[in-house]
């Protein structure tokens, strides 16, 4: 798996499943938090867990929230588990 591909797949998954325009989803943009334009919440994180599981068969249940910070950190987590 190529990291850029993973980033792009996660971006598309988030865009489709959470109804966020792709142009907001820079790889390093903060996904969570009030200051973020995207401002995801706990229900959204469940959808990300389901999406990552569906895409890569990797279970992120209970994984620390630092890995959910951005598309970059999600991709890093996926890459580390896939290796």
């Amino acid at each position: 798996m190529n990291r850029t591909e993973v980033c792009e797949q996660i971006k598309q998954m988030i865009s489709e499943n959470l109804r966020i325009p792709e142009d907001l989803l820079e790889y390093d943009a903060d996904l969570f938090g009030e200051e973020s334009d995207i401002a995801l919440d706990s229900i959204d994180s469940m959808e990300i867990i389901a999406g990552v599981d569906e895409l890569y068969g990797i279970d992120m249940t209970g994984v620390g929230k630092e890995h959910f910070r951005s598309i970059d950190t999600l991709a890093d987590y996926v890459m580390s588990k896939a290796e």
Partner: protein, 730 residues
């Protein structure tokens, strides 16, 4: 004197048994109905438990399971109340539901996957069909409504029935709720990780809910009527309260603010003190968030009186739209049997822990308690932030009526509809600018399904047009009411398609909250801050006008001064597919939209110097039972409804100079009236939005100096019809 409402019959079916006595025996003995789920495939799920009804001979197999469960419970209630055929024919019917025809939706889309779908199922999908079909089964010709505020629905129907009786709409209502077990709810709560792995453990381990199914119906009757016919009177309904959290679509307000508002409203309307409540059937779902907020609410309001409290969901499972009705029936039984049923599932250790948490409240663990009781309460809280509470007593007293009859007017209008242009199906423009121009941010509206987006946009416009800003001071004085034919059917069917294809583990946590019919009303309340009465009613294409009638009834009974009334229906590929399978005769392509009006007391509008589009002279709903599949409009139905609304307005047909309706009624109405306008011609058939469009267009005519008295009337599938008469405001 104010009219009094009493309970004269009860019927119930749930996991605990197929009638009231079976259920009650199990309840007082602390027997659980929760077992391994049979009707939904739970493969791969972390939970496999549910409370399913075990009844091999449910009546009326042509209907959805929710309707069949409801007929079963209604039949028992009718017999228990010894209603004559004549009384039953006149009786109204108020049914609460959360998932509506979810079992039929599952069956249909499973059929699509296997290439053997049954188009008869598409008529059973919407919750709109439930009350009509139950009424049709019993030949009932009174007013019907489906109140669809998720898990609070079954409480709200009893409350609304009482308020309708108090304003002379009928002497008798069958009221309650029904929901079948469904893969929709199971997969949804599974996705939210809200299911308990073992049986739910409310006010104890609080690690999730266990779903149930069932129905309960009570006969609500005007006191004098019950006395005159020698009916057995169980108790009196002396108070009820409904509120909106305006906080979050699934989570309750953590400090229980909205819950306490509903409970306090009920206590105030009952004219009692908090300490007079002796038993409380709590909502008690068993989720950490619910139980924490409810503990706090109960302690804050009731530590003074030391009431007994239990959650019978530990035995019935959470029956969603039926829960409030089942628990109201249980609460009534508790009162008349002087026995409080327990919350089960406590170990000795748990009991010790409970003592510390319980404080002055007597949480009943494992074993029922016999105690003389006079006044009891049942509470229900729902997704969308709806809270409802109802109070029953053995010791009802006559109360003086609020002598001043309230008058209502229209002070604001907002609308968003598709435009007819000859295409097969029509859509509204929901581009980002449509939201940003109204100050609705992406972070908020991206969460909303199409149905909710339409509703929020028109609701916000109507409030702005009425020049009402929601503040901390007026939030509880403003109500909201949504009328819809099909509710969020796009979100429901899309969710269901995935579950049918990929199994119960594939539900979307993101979309599930939007599958409840009152999510749209909930989002409107969250966005604007409205905290008063709220209801969503699924009543076919005429639901927009019936919602306005419903709003007037509740504004008359309650303390709110204004209500945002909305008629909303959406369009999508799935909905166009469903309608094409219905093969209806329509003059226009299917459209979508949302029309909102602000209905305000004349007193409030005058006091703030608001502009008034029109005064509401009269309002009425009529009903002539026919199967929900039958969308034909009968001349007799229009005649009955017009008679009722003219009578309510105190005018004659000759006084009407404008008529607004849809293409379905236009020809019949043109025989009797001049100036009949079909409101669908420019928008397509927007169903509930078209119904309320009648009111909007009448108001606009007045503004243009045209006409003085307008009749707005719409009939829907299944023989329901509602009308209002508007008068130009001086």
């Amino acid at each position: 004197m104010a009219k009094r409402c009493v309970i004269t019959g009860i019927g119930m079916v749930c996991a605990l048994g197929n009638d009231v006595s079976q259920c009650w025996n199990n309840l007082v003995n602390g027997v659980s109905g929760i077992k391994d789920v049979k009707s939904v495939d739970t493969e791969g799920c972390y939970s496999h438990l549910g409370g399913e009804v075990d009844c091999y001979n449910l009546p009326a197999p042509q209907y959805d399971r929710s309707v069949r469960l409801c007929i079963k419970a209604a039949d028992e209630a009718i017999n228990d109340s010894k209603l004559s055929e004549e009384d039953l024919k006149k009786a109204g019917l108020m049914i609460g539901s959360c998932v509506g025809g979810a079992a039929s939706i599952d069956k249909f889309y499973t059929g699509v996957l296997n290439g053997n779908e049954d188009n008869n199922d598409v008529f059973k999908m919407s919750a709109s069909s439930i009350a009509n079909n139950v009424a049709c089964h019993f030949g009932m010709q009174g007013v019907t409504s489906n109140i669809v505020n998720a898990c609070a629905a079954g409480t709200m129907t009893i409350s609304h029935a009482c308020n309708l009786i108090k304003e002379n709409s009928a002497d008798i209502f069958l009221a309650g709720g029904t929901d079948s077990f469904s893969s929709l709810a199971f997969a949804g709560f599974h996705a939210l990780h809200a299911l308990a792995e073992d049986s739910c453990s409310p006010f104890n381990h609080s690690n999730g809910i266990t779903l149930g199914e069932g129905s309960a119906i009570v006969v609500v009757e005007e006191y004098e009527h019950a006395v005159k016919r020698g009916a057995k009177i169980y108790c009196e309904v002396i108070g009820s309260g409904v509120s909106s959290d305006a906080y979050h679509i699934t989570a309750p307000h953590p400090q229980g603010e909205g819950q306490m508002s509903a409970l306090s409203r009920a206590i105030k309307s009952a004219g009692i003190k908090n300490e007079e409540v002796e038993y409380i059937n709590a909502h008690g779902t068993g989720t950490a968030k619910n139980d924490a907020a409810e503990f706090l609410s109960l302690h804050t309001l009731f530590d003074c009186g030391k009431p007994m409290v239990s959650s019978t969901k530990s035995m019935t499972g959470h029956c969603l739209g039926a829960a409030g009705a089942i628990e109201a029936a249980i609460t009534i039984k508790a009162l008349v049997e002087n026995t409080a049923p327990p919350t089960i599932g406590y170990s000795d250790e748990d009991k010790e822990a409970l003592k510390e948490k319980a404080g002055d409240i007597e949480f009943i663990a494992n074993e029922s308690v016999k105690k003389e009781m006079t006044t009891v309460m049942s509470n229900s809280f729902a997704f969308g932030g709806t809270n409802a509470s109802i109070i029953f007593t053995k010791d009802g007293k006559e109360k003086n009526a609020d002598t001043q009859e309230k008058k209502f007017c229209i002070t604001g209008i907002g609308s968003l509809t598709s435009e007819a242009n000859g295409e097969k199906s029509l859509y509204c423009d929901l581009a980002p600018e449509v939201f940003s121009s109204r100050g609705v941010k992406l972070g908020f509206y991206r969460k909303l399904d199409r149905f909710s987006q339409l509703e929020v946009l028109s609701g916000v416009d109507a409030l702005k047009d009425a020049d009402i800003a929601i503040t901390a001071e007026n939030a509880s004085s403003i109500a909201s009411l949504t009328g819809t034919c099909d509710g969020p059917m796009t979100e429901i069917t899309s969710f269901q398609q995935v579950v049918c294809e990929k199994g119960s583990t594939a539900g979307s946590a993101f979309s599930f909250p939007n599958t409840v019919y009152n999510a749209a009303g909930g989002y409107l309340s969250i966005f604007t801050g409205i905290k008063g009465y709220c209801a969503t009613a699924a009543n076919g294409t005429q639901a927009g006008i019936q919602a306005l009638c419903h709003a007037c009834t509740e504004l008359s009974a309650g303390t709110e001064t204004a209500c945002v009334v909305t008629g909303t229906d959406e369009n999508s590929e799935n909905i166009t597919d469903i309608y094409s399978r219905m093969n209806l005769q329509t003059d226009y392509p299917l459209g979508e939209g949302s029309v909102s009006v602000v209905c305000e007391t004349v007193e409030s509008a005058n006091s703030r110097g608001a502009k008034k589009y029109a005064e509401i002279l009269g309002r009425a709903s009529g009903h002539i039972a026919q199967d929900y599949k039958d969308s034909s409009v009968k001349e007799e139905l229009l005649a009955v409804t017009i008679d009722k609304v003219l009578n309510n307005a105190g005018i004659s047909a000759n006084d009407i100079d404008l008529v607004y309706t849809t293409y379905k009624e236009k020809d019949l109405l043109s025989k009797k009236f001049e100036n009949v306008t079909d409101v669908c011609q420019n928008t397509g058939d927007c169903r509930a939005a078209s119904a309320l469009m009648c009111v909007k267009m009448a108001c606009e005519s007045f503004s243009e100096g045209k006409g003085n008295v307008a009749l707005c009337i719409s009939a829907g599938n299944g023989g329901a019809c509602s009308a209002v008469i508007l008068k130009r405001s001086e």
